[in-house]
């Protein structure tokens, strides 16, 4: 008998009807009266000074209404790390120089898309081409061209994480191993490409429809670059076709459409083509990792040292956070006596890299979990038991970084161990690989420099008992509207069907940092719980007054039933109470308020999810083709809230993470992406997905609403490493670069055979 009425039950997604009937309107669909269509002219050079832009011929083309360049902007260098001005380095429409192939240089608005596109050919840009660099280790050389003034050796950001005495810890170790790894980039590849419709009106107000993960961030950032007050900017994101970490910074679509609209006083719509979405939106951070690990012969972890160079591309973006998180999660989920991480983010003339689901952790696990597997093989130890003896436990303090409250990793080992044992001996071309992982439930960081609570919520109750829930949390498909409605329903004592969620509109919703870092279930959830409990308290005050119960009796509302907890059979309908309460408040709706900002929660997050994933892989040794056959994931996300949503997040994360492991190759040549389309860039399709069963481990996280933790990103972290480990067990080869391609496997096997011959 569940102690909850709504939490973790089978609830339909609250946006379901709109989405399955084609009624949901995305920014992609928005049409406003008098709307123009915008197209962006992009730099063909990876590094060049902009000498002159002549768009007079474009203006003469019938149907072209206007053109903007960097000269039409305030020239503000913006960035999402607003507290650190030197990391605000991107003008989006640059004034002086371009730093990557595909960077916008001008934007045209015309009466049709076709005319706007034709106009691009009529804009003449004179460049002075500069020497360019593409790889971090080239960009840090003394003779490398400088991308941003004041950044010596093109080093954009550095991060250092250390605890314990690393040298001593290495001395204690009886076995030391060092390896170099390379982690590729990855495209977010949201089904809805970047899209924005901006409308600037003569009253000095700007309304923007944007496919966004954080309307509040957009509002704040736009205010900064356009010289407007936040209060005069409205950002609307009712339905968003995917984000995955790529849509909470200003992009070319929102910026150029806004600048055009402000100049032309007409609405302007810009929708990226799929190719533009590949070449001119930011990507997952490619990284080069050096890892040195020291352990005792019995498998006790002693020391780890990691040096990482990340390919930052042309601008900072969210790359500084990825640099930190990769270094932190590289220690996860284990206890190290001595740990040292040095990360260097380097500017190069390639597509800027930023956050993407997992935020540096998939790369960290690719390296850590594979090296750990090789160590278990070197020492003849059991892969699960060696991990188990070094794992986090509830109450563990990662020195100077985090206090772990709930932690179900140990139970995860039990579950997977059983599954692997039951698999028994597999045929020669198949093997199982495992990987542990974990992730944060939202970050404590305020580099955005918001003065507002990180999450806020308002609950109002109507006379008929229906509930309006206002949140700034953004649903981008992960189902936050539903998850928050569930929390609200549980806290208030009603059903999900009673609740209407208002989100995705800065005009009507409270500020919220938005959907990134897997923060919304914990942070917005806590705010919603607080608001709902506030509203319930106001209702119960009236109920107490009416009931005449002895003071020792507590009242509650559960499933729309107002009752004494000790006497649940005696009660009445919640709708009756609402009517009385509103009458008693001079006809005012009940309004509950809630908010949440993490205080004193360590350096990263209030709470961490944990997991252990096993993947069974079938490999064709002659061709190197990989087929995912089966999997099992033991997962600790505290109390599951939205059951359907959770399964969806787990299965979806797997498909993206597996893609990072063996499909989504993103090759660049001289700064140019070689496969900016869905024919040559391979994403997971239905035929390649195995079953992805999940075993939820029962834990309770005190920091989270009803004990909940994140379930959105953690599962993007282990799969690439698990696939690598499966290949290691099947073929005996160590894959140090991801994504793994068949040619790499065949070459590795060849090398192995040659070595064995000698």
């Amino acid at each position: 008998m569940s102690k909850y009425s709504v939490i973790n039950t089978h609830v339909h997604n609250v946006d379901g009807i709109a989405k399955v009937t084609g009624r949901a309107t995305y920014t992609f669909d928005v049409k406003l009266p008098g709307m123009l269509y915008g197209k962006i002219l992009r730099s063909p050079h990876p590094h060049a000074k902009i000498l002159n832009i002549d768009y007079s011929s474009a203006l003469e083309l019938p149907g072209v209404i206007g053109v903007v360049t960097g000269k039409d902007t305030l020239g503000v260098k913006q960035g999402i790390w607003r507290r650190f001005q030197d990391l605000c380095d991107e003008q989006i429409l640059p004034v002086d120089k371009v730093r990557y192939i595909g960077e916008p240089v001008a934007a045209v608005a015309a009466v049709s898309e076709e005319i706007a596109e034709q106009a691009l050919d009529l804009i003449d840009v004179q460049y002075e081409v500069l020497p360019a660099v593409y790889e971090p280790l080239d960009a840090i050389k003394k003779e490398a061209p400088e991308l941003h003034a004041g950044f010596e050796r093109n080093i954009n950001v550095t991060r250092h994480i250390e605890w314990g005495n690393v040298e001593e810890a290495f001395e204690e170790a009886e076995y030391v191993r060092e390896d170099w790894f390379k982690c590729g980039g990855q495209a977010h590849m949201c089904m809805e490409t970047r899209a924005a419709v901006s409308s600037y009106t003569p009253d000095g107000k700007l309304t923007v429809y944007h496919s966004s993960q954080s309307p509040y961030y957009m509002q704040g950032l736009l205010a900064g670059v356009l010289g407007l007050k936040e209060g005069n900017i409205r950002v609307i994101s009712h339905y968003v076709g995917g984000g995955f970490g790529g849509k909470f910074e200003l992009d070319g679509a929102i910026f150029c459409s806004a600048v055009l609209s402000m100049k032309l006083h007409r609405p302007v719509k810009i929708v990226f083509t799929r190719e533009e979405d590949f070449i001119a939106t930011k990507r997952r951070t490619p990284m080069s990792y050096y890892v040195r690990t020291g352990v005792k012969k019995d498998g006790t972890f002693c020391a780890r040292e990691a040096k990482v160079f990340t390919n930052g591309g042309a601008y900072t973006g969210m790359g500084a956070t990825a640099l930190y998180l990769t270094g932190f999660f590289h220690s996860f989920p284990y206890r190290w006596k001595g740990y040292r991480y040095d990360g260097y983010r380097v500017y190069t003339n390639t597509l800027p890299s930023t956050s993407m689901r997992g935020f540096g952790a998939p790369q960290a696990m690719w390296c850590s979990e594979q090296q750990i597997e090789w160590i278990t093989a070197d020492l003849g130890l059991d892969p699960i038991e060696m991990r188990r003896k070094n794992a986090h436990y509830p109450g563990y303090e990662v020195p100077g970084q985090a206090t772990i409250a709930s932690c179900g990793i140990d139970q995860c080992f039990d579950v997977v161990q059983k599954w692997v044992k039951e698999k028994g001996k597999l045929p020669g071309n198949r093997a199982v690989g495992i990987s542990a992982a974990g992730f944060m439930s939202g970050g404590i960081f305020n580099w955005f420099d918001t003065p507002y609570s990180f999450s806020s919520a308002v609950v109002t109750i109507n006379y008929d008992g229906t509930v309006e829930l206002y949140v700034g949390a953004q649903d981008i498909g992960q189902g936050s509207n539903t998850t928050l409605a569930i929390i609200c329903a549980e806290a208030l004592g009603v059903r999900v069907e009673d609740i209407k969620v208002h989100s995705g509109d800065t005009e009507h919703c409270p500020a919220d940092l938005g959907a990134w870092g897997s923060r919304q279930t914990l942070m917005a959830g806590n705010a919603v719980k607080m608001a709902a409990e506030d509203a319930k308290k106001q209702l119960l005050e009236v109920a107490y007054a009416q009931s005449g119960f002895n003071i020792v009796y507590d009242l509650d509302i559960k499933n729309r039933w107002v009752h004494a907890i000790a006497r649940p059979e005696r009660g009445y309908d919640y709708a009756e109470l609402v009517k009385k309460a509103i009458r008693g408040k001079d006809g005012q709706r009940i309004i509950g308020r809630g908010h949440y900002t993490p205080h004193g929660k360590g350096m990263i997050s209030p709470a961490y999810s944990y997991m252990l994933q096993a993947v069974e892989v079938d490999i064709d040794k002659e061709t190197g083709k990989i087929k995912l056959v089966d999997s099992l994931t033991a997962h600790d996300c505290g109390q599951p809230i939205n059951r359907l949503g959770l399964i969806g997040q787990l299965e979806g994360a797997f498909s993206m993470a597996a893609g990072y492991g063996y499909l989504e190759y993103m090759p660049y040549e001289d700064g140019k992406l070689m496969n900016p389309n869905l024919v040559d860039y391979k994403v997971m399709r239905a035929t390649e997905m195995p079953d992805v069963p999940v075993a939820e481990i029962d834990t309770y996280e005190p920091e989270g609403p009803y004990g909940a933790k994140e379930a959105g990103e953690g599962l993007t972290n282990p799969t690439a490493a698990a696939i690598g480990n499966a290949i290691f067990h099947a073929l005996g080869v160590q894959m140090k670069e991801c994504p793994i391609r068949p040619e790499m496997i065949v070459d590795a096997l060849k090398e192995k055979e040659e070595k064995e011959r000698k």
Partner: protein, 161 residues
Amino acid sequence: MEKQLLKLVVNGQEYVLYISPKSLLVEVIRDHIGLTGTKRGCDTVSCGACTVMIDDMAVKSCSILAVQAEGRHITTVEGLEKNGKLAPIQKAFLDHGSYQCGFCTAGMLISCEAFLKENFTPTKEGIREGIEGNICRCTGYNSIVRAVEAVAKGDYREEGT
């Protein structure tokens, strides 16, 4: 370019349009007729977000000239429901959470519907092959397969049929 008259029957309703012959079917459906449920997600006939049915066959409307669809029966996602009553596949999607961001959903529903019209006892592998032409970035496909299985099994059969 010279425009011409075109009669299209979409979701059982006839539309008389005046369009350029180079218009793609997806453009005419979305921009001229105004049915925006069908989406576009690529330019290389890869993603399937634009999938509609022509005479019960799933096709990618981004890769068909609108003029070629004259005289045929076109079904878009808006045509799945009848008088506000959802089709079995739509109900199954709701029950199984077979969508997240929803952008691929219109095309995915049509592919599933067309598949179910031809396959009455599909295997899981068969269903996977049936939706191979549709990319979903959010769900990992398995919940979609479960929804199709449920419909094929008869979970949503109307009373009395």
